[in-house]
């Protein structure tokens, strides 16, 4: 690649975000020095691209608070996601569901999984669901003083819980 300024072989490659657009520029050593690239604060790519006298690109960081979402499990933030375009842990996919939906649009043939499902996992999730349900019913039965039903529910819950323990 050659220098965008003088055409000599380029040694310095710059990428800068200008008004939401990625601008790339290549410079040879001399031009880079001349334009002050060695001192990043003194260099504005926009000036060079747009002819010098344009307004400086806004480098104000995003307003704090607005984008401060953070994955409760692993501490991954929206900023991290924007920077590396990857996720921190499985829970991030819940935390950043909106962004996930945006990212996967057009990336894949569809947006919902229709392939393999891990056997044990679904059983585990079903058992957990059933347990939650039974516990809710037990609470209701107790508060309604329906002890006969409560005893039956309690036995059922114990049985399921021991299954979970054995599965581990």
């Amino acid at each position: 690649m050659n220098c965008d300024n003088c055409g000599k072989p380029a040694k310095v490659h710059l990428t800068q975000l200008v008004g939401g657009q990625v601008k790339k520029i290549a410079l040879c050593n001399e031009c880079a020095k001349q334009k002050g690239v060695t001192d990043p604060t003194g260099f504005a790519l926009a000036d060079m691209l747009l002819g010098g006298s344009q307004a400086k690109p806004s480098l104000v960081p995003a307003t704090p608070g607005k984008d401060a979402r953070r994955c409760a499990d692993c501490g991954f933030t929206l900023e991290d996601l924007k920077r590396i375009r990857r996720f921190g842990c499985g829970t991030c996919y819940q935390t950043f569901r909106e962004e996930v939906n945006q990212m996967i649009r057009g990336m894949h043939k569809g947006t919902s999984h229709c392939g393999k499902v891990p056997d044990g996992l679904i059983e585990m999730q079903m058992r957990q669901k059933r347990l939650d349900e039974l516990r809710g019913r037990l609470e209701q039965a107790v508060s309604a003083e329906n002890y006969e039903e409560a005893a039956g529910l309690r036995d059922e819950i114990r049985r399921l819980e021991s299954e979970v323990a054995n599965a581990d």
């Binding site: 499990d73 692993c74 991954f76 991290d80 590396i84 375009r85 990857r86 996720f87 921190g88 842990c89 499985g90 996919y93 819940q94 996930v100 990212m103 996967i104 990336m107 894949h108 043939k109 569809g110 947006t111 919902s112 999984h113 229709c114 392939g115 393999k116 499902v117 891990p118 056997d119 044990g120 996992l121 585990m124």
Partner: protein
């Protein structure tokens, strides 16, 4: 199993044993999986990565397939050793760049290889010779089933298997095949064919995957989409497209021989000459000529064994293999000399191309002597 033992015995898919690998050299399927409740490797702290490795490694090593497997943490391997494994497609380039907290477990026969703490907690691959995507999938799927019984995967009913990069969501499956397409390149049809493949949503890459140049007329075709379709649908489409491309290549080979046999003979004869007599040969040049020699083997110019010989050389002349061979760091010039030496010695007993074998149709009894013999 020691590193030297692993490397001494090439896998069946490297030699193409028992498969039609004239055009499709190998089929590979990999699955990406992560554990629930712990950060993905790239985001995990060192301690978390080590903990994950301590959970995963015993489970992986206990797999029936992994009896007497090669199992090593990456920081216990030298950079040349890691690079050799990359050149053999046993680990990825990204994985080779990792050290502490990452490991590779490779089946004795090398048809199944599992990377621990690569971009995802688990990357499991199976490679078979020829166009055998379903067979490769079955092997890796079986491993996945066994592991899923003991490990809780990060899985979401809507998004499927959760992966570090959203490009792998859903099935977490990437199927690919390595194709040798010299006739499509020689007849200038390759661009058109690959464009068509791209249009169907499949990716085309060079010899070593993402971002690599196509060398030796070798191309990798793989699925890009992993979400919204079942494994079976993805693999069926992939297999169909790959066999169509292979058909195009087969037709192009036939047509080349009919339309321009002199050009074909010239290319293959020159390749033979250079490889047999070069004293300094850069990697790119060697790959180009080996590709033509391989084509010659497929077309009957050379005995059948020559194809396996070419495939073995494709790997043996890679930089890290050369360094391992000579046991020290080599300058590029030294590499070119050693590469040429290896090629010459491997091809020592290969007879010159049998041009008559392809010129028999429509030729008089005594074909012209092309001066190669």
């Amino acid at each position: 199993m020691r590193f030297s033992t692993l490397i001494k015995h090439p896998a069946d898919w490297m030699t193409g044993e028992g498969a039609d690998n004239a055009i499709v050299l190998t089929s590979r399927v990999r699955l990406a999986r992560n554990l629930a409740g712990t950060p993905f490797p790239g985001w995990a702290k060192k301690k978390q990565r080590t903990e994950v490795l301590e959970r995963l490694r015993p489970a992986v090593e206990a797999l029936p397939r992994m009896r007497d497997a090669f199992s090593q943490e990456l920081d216990s391997l030298s950079s040349v050793q890691k690079q050799v494994m990359v050149e053999r497609h046993l680990i990825s380039r990204e994985h080779a760049a990792r050290g502490e907290g990452s490991a590779a477990v490779i089946e004795r026969r090398q048809s199944v290889a599992i990377m621990l703490n690569e971009e995802d907690h688990l990357r499991m691959q199976s490679i078979r010779p020829g166009l055998k995507l379903t067979e490769a999938y079955e092997a890796v799927n079986e491993v996945d089933d066994v592991l899923a019984e003991q490990l809780e995967y990060a899985f979401d009913a809507e998004l499927g298997y959760l992966t570090t990069c959203p490009t792998n969501l859903g099935t977490g499956m990437r199927g690919s095949a390595m194709l040798h397409l010299p006739a499509l390149v020689l007849s200038d049809q390759i661009g058109q064919v690959l464009q068509a493949v791209n249009k169907i949503g499949l990716a085309v890459r060079g010899l070593f995957g993402e971002g690599t140049e196509s060398l030796g007329n070798l191309f990798q075709i793989s699925n890009q989409s992993t979400l919204g379709e079942s494994e079976e649908t993805i693999l069926r489409r992939l297999e169909r497209v790959i066999s169509q491309v292979a058909n195009h290549e087969a037709n192009a080979r036939e047509r080349l021989l009919e339309d321009d046999p002199d050009m074909v003979c010239d290319k293959i004869g020159r390749a033979y000459g250079v490889l047999r007599h070069a004293w300094l040969i850069p990697s790119k040049e060697a790959l180009t000529h080996l590709s033509l020699l391989r084509l010659g083997g497929n077309l009957g110019f050379f005995p059948e064994e020559s194809v396996a010989l070419c495939d073995a050389l494709l790997t043996e002349i890679q930089p890290a293999h050369l360094q391992m061979h000579s046991g020290r760091k080599l300058s590029p010039e030294e590499r070119d000399a050693i590469r040429a030496e290896i090629v010459r010695s491997r091809l020592q007993s290969l007879e010159p191309p049998d041009i008559r074998s392809i010129k028999k149709t429509g030729e008089e009894d005594s074909p012209p002597d092309l001066g190669i013999t």
